[in-house]
């Protein structure tokens, strides 16, 4: 299992469309992927969970991946977050 602490940098935070992108991406990996914030842990493959996490810009989230492709999954998920969900120029 690997963990990484990342900051949500895009302006709108984990809003509906960003969450959709994250779910699409996470679902490509076999690993279990979760996000944790303020003691709440949610499944990154569930959009409802992500929306309820309500991670706004500037919040810190702990990404946890566990499975045979955990390294790739971690790189992809943290890459998407760092890349502001490809939504801002």
């Amino acid at each position: 299992m690997i963990e990484r602490d990342v900051e949500i940098v895009n302006r709108l935070g984990l809003h509906a469309r960003a969450a959709a992108k994250l779910v699409h991406l996470a679902s490509k990996y076999r690993s279990n992927i979760s996000l944790a914030m303020n003691g709440e842990v949610i499944d990154a493959k569930s959009i409802l969970g992500i929306l309820l996490l309500a991670a706004a810009q500037g919040s810190r989230v702990l990404v946890r991946c566990e499975g045979d492709d955990e390294k790739d999954a971690m790189a992809a998920v943290t890459g998407l977050i760092a890349n502001r969900f490809e939504e801002e120029s």
Partner: protein, 589 residues
């Protein structure tokens, strides 16, 4: 089109004039009614199956909508529906609903409804500014799901027939924009006021709209024959053949009057004694350029750029989006001038994504120039596009909600920075756009003389100026009677603004609704106004009024108006003045 059912008349508020005859399409944007049914034990599993099937159906519906949205609106907007489709395949959501069906032994509709309530509550408890869009998505998904469960067909706008009358609880501006591009001939709504953005769009696009029609969504079913009279605010369901004849005649009369008015287009807007008046158009969308030209506008006196934002919402328009829109507009209107007002967001307008906080009193809050100066990145994009679009064109920049001189100076410093940056980038642009400010806050009106020395033109926005000066929200039925454009306080302010512009030798125009009412023309012209900007369709009537007035007598009319002590007296005086004129004219013939 008449049928066996009895005609039924509903009276509401006339919001956008005109008459339309068509067939209803009900847009359900209010919650569907859901009832609770207890299930016998052996019906629980079949109910779960029914829920799963409905979920599949709802999901394919959303995916179909997504595909269509992608085609018509582009992939960024289409992505909105991704979240909705994912919600419907989210086991976390579905297992919650299924658990409820099993534990409480209730029908799936009720379980969906209760679960959605619970989630909406959770979303709303989140200390986060974007929860509302999330609960919107959730509400949309729930609606799809309930419809699938109840077997109600979902409307496909692309499949609508001709002569469609949209019946809905309410309509957001972006929904309205999207709908008028279909075959929609009228709107009948339960709620919505005169000055909502939806109302403005309907009027500008000449679509009749009646609102305040309590119960209309319940009474009308799809494909019912309906007449909408947007002038009287009346809707007739299942009209009799006599009513259909009457309204067809009115429709023809309106068309005829329109063609007469169009003939007016060829005549110049001058008073009898030869003083030329500029009649310009207020527009929100480039679609309205056609009307501005058709009705003979001498340019665009107010382009409300925030509609570009509203159309793209929740995305921000890019510099290219701005540039293409403005360039098309100035190219089409050349050689006439085009006044583009920078974003006037905030207040009651849509500012979800730009604003980070809820405001207690948004009308007096972070809006107009205040919001744009506070969000320089957004403003920068718009300004760069404006300067680029102005190359070889007569583009004027207008700042909304100015309340003091510092804001003008702050803007100038900001604009200088942007221009220096554009120069460095080697961008092709025109740095010499005229700069003007809206006079819509009483403090700005009172320092019009000071503002006039800092800018190239003033534009009087009477809607807000009256509302702020008289402390009246005219959408509030309890106080709307106090909304009086001819209140002596307003006339004195207008006079001072017009004088200040004249002393400084700069242009001044009026773009509020007060400009479009021919009753007010004598006093406005008499006080020195020479440029009015109104919705395109109001130009012919205004022109015909101006052509009957003589400037030589208007100055004393204005003086008389200014000497009276109440709005009612001024109104009576002006009505009498115009009546006497038409009598004299008749006898002269």
């Amino acid at each position: 089109m008449s049928d066996s059912q009895q005609p039924q008349v509903l009276d509401g508020l006339g919001v956008s004039p005109g008459v339309a005859i068509g067939r209803a399409v009900c847009i359900e944007n209010e919650a569907l009614e859901v009832y609770r049914f207890p299930l016998p034990a052996d019906s629980v599993e079949p109910e779960i199956d029914r829920l799963r099937e409905a979920t599949q159906r709802a999901r394919s519906e959303i995916l179909a909508t997504r595909a269509r949205a992608e085609e018509e609106l582009g992939s960024e907007l289409a992505a909105i529906f991704d979240a909705q489709a994912l919600l419907l395949s989210d086991t976390a959501l579905l297992s919650r609903v299924e658990t409820r069906v099993r534990n409480e032994r209730v029908n799936a509709e009720w379980a969906v409804h209760k679960e959605a309530d619970e989630l909406t509550r959770q979303f709303e408890e989140l200390d986060d500014e974007h929860f509302s869009t999330r609960s919107d998505d959730l509400r949309d998904v729930v609606r799809h799901l309930l419809r699938a469960l109840q077997g109600v067909a979902h409307h496909d706008l692309a499949e609508m027939g001709e002569q469609v009358i949209i019946v809905a609880h309410d309509l957001t501006p972006s929904e309205a924009v999207r709908l008028v591009r279909q075959h929609v001939v009228a709107f009948a709504l339960e709620t919505g006021g005169q000055t909502s953005h939806t109302a403005i769009i309907a009027r500008d696009l000449n679509i009749p709209l009646a609102s305040g029609l309590t119960g209309v969504t319940r009474l009308v079913t799809d494909d019912d024959p309906v007449i909408v009279d947007g002038s009287a605010g009346r809707v007739i369901l299942h009209p009799s053949s006599a009513q259909l004849d009457e309204y067809s005649l009115r429709r023809t009369a309106i068309d005829k009057r329109e063609s007469e008015m169009l003939a007016m287009q060829l005549l110049p807007a001058v008073t009898r004694d030869g003083i030329a008046i500029d009649l310009m158009a207020n527009i929100d969308l480039n679609e309205e350029i056609v009307d501005a030209k058709r009705f003979g506008a001498a340019g665009v006196g107010l382009y409300r750029s925030e509609f570009l934002y509203i159309e793209r919402s929740p995305n921000l328009p890019s510099e290219e989006d701005h540039f293409k829109t403005y360039r098309h507009l100035v190219d089409e209107m050349a050689p006439h001038p085009v006044v583009i007002r920078t974003y006037d967001l905030g207040g009651r307008k849509l500012a979800r994504d730009v604003m980070d906080t809820e405001e207690e009193n948004p009308v007096l809050g972070l809006r107009g120039i205040r919001l744009t100066l506070a969000r320089p990145q957004i403003f920068r994009t718009q300004l760069r596009a404006l300067y680029r679009a102005a190359v070889d064109r007569d583009l004027w920049i207008l700042l909304p909600m100015i309340s003091n001189l510092d804001e003008v100076r702050q803007f100038k410093a900001f604009a200088a920075k942007i221009q220096a940056e554009m120069l460095r980038d080697g961008a092709e642009f025109n740095p010499d756009c005229k700069l003007g400010v809206m006079i819509e806050v009483p403090s700005a009106a009172m320092i019009a003389d000071l503002l006039a020395t800092e800018v190239d033109f003033l534009s009087i926005g009477t809607n807000d100026l009256i509302q702020y000066s008289l402390a009246v929200d005219r959408n509030n039925e309890h106080v709307s009677y106090l909304y009086r454009p001819l209140h002596p306080a307003i006339l004195r302010m207008l006079k001072f603004v017009l004088q200040s512009a004249r002393t400084a030798g700069i242009d001044v125009s009026m773009c509020g609704e007060m400009a479009s009412d021919p009753l007010y023309s004598p006093v406005l012209l008499g006080m020195g106004l020479r440029s009015l900007s109104v919705t395109s369709r109001a130009i012919p009537e205004l022109k015909s009024q101006i052509r009957q007035l003589s400037m030589s007598e208007l100055e004393s009319v204005a003086d008389e108006c200014l000497s009276l002590s109440t709005a009612a007296q001024v109104e009576a005086y002006l009505e009498e003045f115009l009546e006497d004129k038409s009598v004299t004219e008749q006898s002269a013939r």
